[in-house]
């Protein structure tokens, strides 16, 4: 990303440009700041390596009154705050199939080895990009245990995407899919995208459910399907992203009405960029000695 600063006085023929790579020195709390100062600087290009989950603020904080010296502070705010849609997801499936691990792998890009049982519901978010649009996924991870069913059922409502997970090494978790699917169909809206995930694909030696039969089950029920591994991360991104693409496609072709209650999708108009150039270059122009 390149910011051009129109406010900076530029003398014809003497313009210089300085590329700046931000994020090298540690600064104020909550972000990284870099202070830059050059004499005789007339044009400044600041290239910011834009992290996936950070946005940047550029603010002009002081101009030396005698030298045309500019000092900029670049503050990288900590969180992801620019997105245009919110999609609500729910992850369902039997106990111990790896729902929480899939979520953790997706949000943290790490495998959680000794994941505790989920009590009721858990929650995670991540911002992804589909067709150039930033989308925030709000993901409800439900407990697989029967005793929490009353709580978890109430979260189906208003989900735009449902990830239904089974464990390829345990046949019983696959056999229960039809009851999970019934729940999902009954409690979500007709446009909810249901994605079937066969987890623990890394344990191929202990496989109890073949890819083909699961694929067939998915096709019969009109589900999207992939085998994934929360441990290796294989296909995890794909499952979440493909679901989002499908939802986005439904929005584009009009089959999903954003204004309908419980669509699970919210449009959030992007705020005007967080780039903030507070400038009093007037004083530097008046006092410029060169």
């Amino acid at each position: 990303m390149v910011f051009s600063l129109a406010q900076v006085p530029i003398e014809p023929g003497r313009a210089r440009s300085v590329p700046v790579n931000s994020g090298q020195s540690r600064g104020r709390e909550g972000g990284t700041s870099t202070t830059l100062a050059w004499p005789s600087l007339h044009s400044l290009h600041i290239a910011i390596l834009r992290g996936q989950s950070s946005c940047h603020e550029l603010e002009l904080f002081s101009i030396d009154s005698r030298l045309p010296r500019l000092a900029y502070q670049i503050k990288m705010s900590a969180g992801p705050y620019n997105y245009s849609y919110i999609f609500k997801y729910i992850i369902i499936g039997d106990m111990g199939v790896g729902k929480s691990c899939l979520l953790h792998q997706f949000t943290e890009k790490k495998f959680m080895a000794d994941c505790p049982h989920t009590i009721g519901v858990e929650f995670g978010t991540r911002i992804i990009e589909v067709a150039g649009q930033k989308i925030k996924l709000q993901i409800w991870d439900t407990a697989g245990q029967e005793r929490f069913r009353a709580v978890t059922r109430s979260y189906y409502r208003g989900a735009a995407g449902a990830l239904m997970v089974y464990d390829i090494t345990r046949r019983s978790t696959y056999n229960h899919l039809s009851s999970w699917l019934t729940d999902a169909r009954n409690l979500t809206n007709p446009n909810t995208v249901i994605f079937l995930i066969g987890n623990k694909a890394d344990l191929d030696a202990q496989r109890d459910v073949t890819y083909e039969e699961a694929k067939q089950f998915a096709e019969e029920n009109g589900l999207m399907f992939v085998e994934a591994s929360a441990k290796t991360g294989e296909n995890v991104e794909e499952a979440f992203l493909e679901t989002a693409k499908k939802i986005y496609q439904n929005i584009q072709d009009g089959s999903l009405d954003l204004n309908a209650a419980e669509s699970g999708v919210q449009h959030k108009p992007t705020q005007p960029g967080r780039t903030n150039l507070s400038n009093d270059s007037q004083s530097s122009r008046d006092n410029c000695s060169c």
């Binding site: 900590a78 969180g79 009721g120 978010t125 709000q138 709580v151 109430s154 419980e262």
Partner: protein
């Protein structure tokens, strides 16, 4: 707690009226599942509400008692209107208590007291402002009632009447909460607003908070915290003030059933915690549970009821310790009770002696102001501490002694110039005087005076020696010894 589930009836009545600034206010009392509160509204507010209910929710227009321009201040009229309005609001509630439209809920302050509406108004607020608040990194203040509502909601099914996937969706609350970095819990033991809710009695959990770095509890009890979740792992700065804690385990083990430290009980460790402020509580003793936060560097125990320190040797990283405004009257071999502490504040206690500090060699800064130290000789116990540079004794009886500063500084011998006493560096004049005192003492003890008071200029020594070569040797001698 008030949650609008089908089994909770909403009881409403208007028992009285009051005059305020020439306006008649009707006191509306509500009772939902054990929670009671009152709302004051004037007739015009009823009329506005009625307008909205008529246009948005198809309420019959003639339900509201009519307006009256003249004579609306007469007691008999007000009494009649009170009865009519009571009947009106009861009818409306009967009619809509399952769906409870937002206009009505806000008119009756449901969004302050009742969980479902409270969460909806939180969701709306976070949806609109959450990202801005988080990006600016300001502390976020929650009340125990809000946290209680949040925990309650996560444990129980969402009520079916609540519309999902709009700006009041519960996801927005959780989404915001998981990202909060600086959490402030502002408790209260007083009834909340115009209700019978005592916030500090409400149980809640903090396991939804995933990114808390600074946790501050102000006037909030620690006992109702049911589960800390990730907070225990992520918190770096902990501040608990005016919470009536009597021991450290009240907060460090607030969610454990047995508040006893089990050696190596890893799940309860606060491994990121470096800065702890538990000032203004009722702590009488520092208990073993402090070992659960082995990385503490800065510990503030001021304004408590401590008379001795214990268990603080379990903090190998402790640098700064504030024990001001406690009940210390004597100190015993502090070097066996504290490790490598650099900064110690013992001000506003009742200390009479500094003997116990004589071997706390790591000290660089000591504040013993406003104690009960009477003798200059007490300072000799700490004058041998090799790193001590900042010393505050002001506010003790000893500080009124004639030539107090020079007498104290004199005890530091060669280091006198390095010691900043009562926030002031020794002046040149003082150093000269100190040098004289030291010379006198030396001659009394039968030693030769050493010309080695550190000073940027050789002026000090010139009072004792008059030819330059001597000064030069004295200075070079000093620099060698240094």
């Amino acid at each position: 707690m008030a949650s609008l589930s089908p089994e909770h009836n909403v009881a409403v009545c208007i028992p009285s009226t009051q005059q305020c600034d020439g306006v008649t206010l009707y006191n509306i009392n509500l009772c939902v599942g054990g929670v009671q509160w009152s709302v004051k509204q004037r007739y015009n507010a009823f009329a506005e509400l009625h307008e909205k209910l008529v246009s948005n929710h198809g309420v019959a227009r003639d339900l509201l008692p009519p307006k009256k321009i003249l004579g609306n201040k007469e007691p008999s009229f007000i009494e009649k209107r009170r009865c009519d309005l009571e009947l009106y609001i009861q009818t409306i509630i009967n009619f809509m208590h399952h769906t409870l439209p937002r206009e009505l809920a806000e008119f009756l302050d449901f969004h302050h007291y009742e969980l479902t509406h409270l969460l909806q108004s939180m969701a709306r607020q976070f949806y609109e402002e959450g990202d801005k608040v988080l990006s600016e990194g300001h502390p976020v203040v929650f009340t125990p009632l809000q946290l209680h509502a949040l925990s309650y909601r996560l444990k129980n099914p969402l009520p079916p009447s609540v519309a999902a996937a709009d700006e009041t969706d519960f996801s927005h609350v959780v989404d915001f909460v998981t990202q909060v970095k600086h959490l402030v819990i502002q408790g209260s033991s007083q009834p909340f607003r115009a209700s019978n809710i005592i916030q500090n009695n409400l149980p809640y959990t903090l396991n939804t908070f995933k990114s808390v770095e600074t946790l501050t509890l102000t006037e909030a009890c620690t006992a109702p915290i049911g589960h800390l979740g990730a907070v225990r792992r992520t918190t770096r700065t902990l501040q608990v003030n005016q919470s009536g804690m009597t021991q450290m385990s009240d907060i460090l083990l607030c969610d454990a059933v047995f508040q006893e430290t089990v050696e190596g009980s890893d799940p309860h460790k606060w491994l990121s915690l470096t800065d702890v402020d538990v000032s203004c509580n009722q702590i009488k003793k520092t208990d073993d549970s402090i070992a659960l936060a082995p990385n503490i560097e800065k510990l503030n125990l001021s304004c408590n009821k401590l008379s001795s320190v214990e268990s603080l040797t379990k903090l190998p990283h402790l640098i700064s310790l504030n024990l001001s405004n406690n009940l210390f009257s004597e100190l015993e071999s502090m070097h066996t009770k504290l490790g490598n502490v650099v900064d110690l504040d013992l001000s506003q206690n009742s200390l009479t002696s500094l003997k116990g500090l004589s071997k706390l060699y790591s000290l660089a800064s000591l504040n013993v102001s406003t104690n009960n130290i009477c003798e200059i000789a007490e300072v000799s116990h700490i004058s041998g501490l090799p790193c001590l540079e900042t010393l505050i004794i002001t506010g003790n009886p000893v500080a009124t002694v004639v030539d107090y500063r020079t007498k104290v500084l004199e005890l530091f011998g060669q280091r006198a110039a390095e010691v900043c006493l009562d926030n002031e560096r020794p002046t040149q004049r003082e150093l000269e005087f100190v040098a004289v005192l030291q010379a006198i003492r030396a001659s009394r003890e039968g030693r030769l005076p050493t010309l080695s008071i550190s000073s940027p200029l050789p002026v000090t020594t010139s009072t004792l020696s008059f030819n330059r070569p001597d000064v030069a040797t004295a200075v070079s001698e000093y620099s060698v010894t240094k």
